[in-house]
Symmetry: C2
Subunit: 288 residues, 2 copies
Amino acid sequence: MLGGAATFFSLAASMFDQVNLVGPVGDDFGEAEMAVLRTRGANVDDVEHVAGGKSFFWSGRYHDNMDTRDTLDTQLGVFEHFEPKLSEGSREAEVVFLANIQPGLQLQVREQCERAEFVALDSMNLWIDIARDQLVDIIGRVDCLLLNDEELRQLTGKPTIYTAAREILGWGPSIIVAKQGAHGATLITADSYFSLPAYPLELVVDPTGAGDTFAGGFVGFIAAHAGGTFDDNVLRNAMAYGTSLASYTVQRFGTEALQAITPDDVDQRVADLWSYGRFDLIESALRA
Amino acid sequence: MLGGAATFFSLAASMFDQVNLVGPVGDDFGEAEMAVLRTRGANVDDVEHVAGGKSFFWSGRYHDNMDTRDTLDTQLGVFEHFEPKLSEGSREAEVVFLANIQPGLQLQVREQCERAEFVALDSMNLWIDIARDQLVDIIGRVDCLLLNDEELRQLTGKPTIYTAAREILGWGPSIIVAKQGAHGATLITADSYFSLPAYPLELVVDPTGAGDTFAGGFVGFIAAHAGGTFDDNVLRNAMAYGTSLASYTVQRFGTEALQAITPDDVDQRVADLWSYGRFDLIESALRA
């Protein structure tokens, strides 16, 4: 079914701001799929149709805990020989998300966005394994890196996500987001640490796309509210909006939920998340 | 080295209130070990020395992420034929913690504490596997159950910790604490949900005892502050104190850290944890 990082990201981010999509699709990508991409007015001028090509394809099997998964099949398809050439409109983007793909492709897009004030990057263990130097290079050119806990440790060789994040903050980015699946996400900057649980659910139907949906809400919120500065409380709210949106994605297959939800749905879960993490400090008299 | 649930629990809980320890030890348990148990005035009258016996022993190997471990050896030793007979002082306890051991033994202690107003229970997958009926029985007679995520799912057959906790709330307890290792802990009651991250650390030296230390801080705080009622904000602060204390345990081997820390150390990390989970809601104007 229709999936893909750009799809989930765009459906979430378009709740906050205009999205311009960049990427290639193949002959298997029809008008119905394009219609989904155009949700909430996303611009698809830079979605390049490669005649005779096949769209990127992924399939996997989730473990019982829905947090770990085995990849069954990955086909880069039209991404294999893709050379991104951004339209003028996309080149002028002030906020850019480089979804998970070969680091070399991410770099080509990054270099065309000369006016970008905030660039976020997602990646995965595959690129740490086979293209680590290129990955470290592009990480040095972005403001924000999103990776899961294990990938943060793998990339840096550091034992905890805290030390891993501190290491990467020295490479260039000013914001690290550790994605923790059913355990939520943690934001680490030079002088702030913020951890937000995942939204509690009765049933997780399909976690596919949760990370990209989170990124869409996170980056979308920043695009709509940052105004050039990345205030700590803006980043924390962005985490909550990303988490709220991702919680809807995992409750249904594919993009079903993201197409159906309303602003009130999203706001409601953000308000819930606010209450799930707060407490009023009680003065305690500890015994020495 | 000296470890054990009662040891870690007592060292943490004694920072809040007088602790009476109940349990058997063998000939290998000497005066140095008893001295540790007596830290901060804990009463060891009900620590029964079994002549010719061997103390409970556990060893294991942690995986790289420090969150999963393989048990190498468990020897019940003097626990195998233990029949707890509580002194009058222990029988009058208003707050009771039943540390992880055979559910039948936990029940015997529970039944002798007729004045208990708050009873918390810890257990593990072993007892779900080999003594499930007894475990479910004792769970029905306590106020609070502490288990890790996987055990909550295993015990109930429910897919998420939220649905697992809701199920167990129907068995009798009014408070469920899901222990999540490096991801923190989550508190679930009939009308509240609270999730707290673990304290971020540069290095985890030995996670052994973290869960029991958490329980000691959690139950100890409740003993010192609840006064018969279990106010939601008291429970949330109790989570923070348990988390703060546990973060010290894992930074050193055995009970070293718990013997060395001061009230200020504990308060400082509680204040940090307060800041790691909070944000001020920003009104957002989402696009439909």
